[in-house]
């Protein structure tokens, strides 16, 4: 069964989860900032956010990871592997998230904005108290799906030597040669972390569906 392999893999799983959470926080921040900027009345903001979204969605996350880790140092900016990993994953997922934010805000009925204007809310109050709370509910299911994709994408940072779960598996394979057991455990462990998330997202989807129909 190879139970003796588990402690090392689980130590890697700790780093996988840590990476997922830190990158998710960065992605959420970038998604909100870029998503709002894309709806801004100021064109330089719209342009900058659009550029960010298209560049990070248009190139591959692995290419971005390698660029941050191998190419940036030659511009004199040296990042440790963990920082490069978090930057690439967070900025990549944030670009997809920005589109979610934009779509959710735009799907809040225009009557809500008009009512807020009629009630003499400032634009900031309008966004924070009326539009965002309603849009946020719609963002939850796609954000949940992106969190699962992010979790799976953390396996990529094994290629820049961050000792997360896949990296630990590859190292174990070199030292023990027990390829079959190691990779089957890896699959099982990833599934054990990701599948509860999937079920959670489906539960949220049903709740949000009930909310939007009401």
């Amino acid at each position: 069964m190879g139970l003796d392999l588990l402690p090392v893999l689980i130590r890697g799983a700790g780093i996988t989860i840590q990476l997922t959470l830190v990158s998710a926080a960065l992605a959420l921040g970038m998604a909100l900032v870029a998503g709002l900027a894309r709806l801004s009345p100021l064109w330089p903001l719209r342009f900058a956010a659009g550029l960010y979204v298209e560049v990070f969605r248009g190139t591959s996350v692995l290419v971005q990871l390698f660029w941050f880790y191998f190419a940036l140092p030659l511009f004199g900016i040296r990042l440790d592997a963990f920082t490069a990993g978090v930057l690439a994953l967070g900025l990549n997922v944030g670009a997809y998230g920005a589109e979610v934010v934009r779509g959710a805000i735009r799907s809040v009925p225009v009557g809500q904005t008009e009512a807020a204007i009629a009630l003499n809310f400032t634009p900031w109050q309008r966004m924070r108290r009326i539009i965002l709370p309603q849009a946020f509910v719609l963002m939850l299911p796609p954000f949940g799906n992106q969190l699962i994709e992010l979790l799976k994408a953390t396996a990529l940072v094994s290629l820049i030597t961050i000792p997360e779960m896949t990296f630990q598996g590859l190292t174990l394979r070199q030292t023990t040669g027990r390829t079959n057991e190691i990779f089957l455990w890896l699959l099982v462990l990833y599934f054990a972390v990701a599948y509860p998330l999937t079920l959670g997202v489906r539960w949220i989807e049903r709740r949000v569906g009930a909310y939007t129909r009401a």
Binding site: W67, F70, L74, G76, A153
Partner: protein, 222 residues
């Protein structure tokens, strides 16, 4: 830590042809992987609609593949299959990995498309005494597939951007070519930046095409 920009145009020009060769392999992997995913996705979608003996294992397979990273799946195919006497080239292994992984995603697209065909169409096919095969081939699929095209287009672009993962199992595609150039010359800026630009130049226009398809089908529906 001073910022310096030592971008070497001559070097960039020199390596461009080799990178484009890598991009060609990337495109081939995407097209073959996507064709496989289309076939596997359809089989999985049909399997899910089948009797319980078929639909339960199919669902388990789909959920499992979707909940684990493609990279680990590629390693499984690349390192474990040879232990069972199955050896394939790295390219073939990678393409099968891509096809299986995205086949599970495409099965959802097929499922939604098939469920969108109105019930009346099935009933009419039964009333006209069509067999199962004829019903699927002539009635259901021709109506189900066109609205799926934008979703297929999106997944094609997603797969294109995932092909660099094949570099991890030694397929010399675009990213691997850049890696090899980088490790020989110790200059990583030009190769990796060019790889990013090549990806952007191919995927951005493709995304615009898919957007237009989406707009067209949205109009067609209303």
């Amino acid at each position: 830590m001073g910022l310096r920009f030592d971008w070497d145009w001559a070097f960039a020009w020199e390596i461009l042809p080799r990178l484009l060769e890598g991009a060609w392999i990337t495109l081939q992997a995407t097209v073959v992987g996507f064709a496989l995913a289309l076939a596997i996705g359809l089989l999985l979608a049909l399997g899910r609609r089948g009797p319980r003996l078929l639909s339960i294992p199919t669902t388990v397979f789909i959920e499992f593949v979707r909940s684990t990273p493609l990279l680990v799946q590629l390693y499984v195919l690349y390192f474990i299959l040879p232990n069972f006497g199955i050896s394939m080239s790295a390219f073939l292994t990678g393409v099968i990995g891509l096809g299986l992984h995205y086949g599970t995603y495409l099965s959802e697209v097929y499922r939604a498309g098939i469920e969108n065909v109105p019930r009346g169409q099935w009933e009419a096919a039964i009333a006209l005494n069509f067999g199962t095969r004829t019903t699927w081939k002539n009635i259901v699929l021709p109506q189900a597939i066109p609205p799926m095209l934008p979703a297929f287009g999106n997944y094609f672009i997603v797969m294109f951007k995932e092909t660099p993962l094949l570099s991890a199992i030694t397929v010399v595609e675009l990213l691997q070519t850049a890696k090899i150039i980088g490790s020989r010359t110790f200059s990583y800026v030009e190769p990796y930046t060019l790889v990013g630009i090549i990806f952007l130049m191919l995927s951005y226009p493709a995304a615009l095409v898919v957007n237009r398809l989406e707009a067209r089908f949205a109009r067609y529906r209303s």
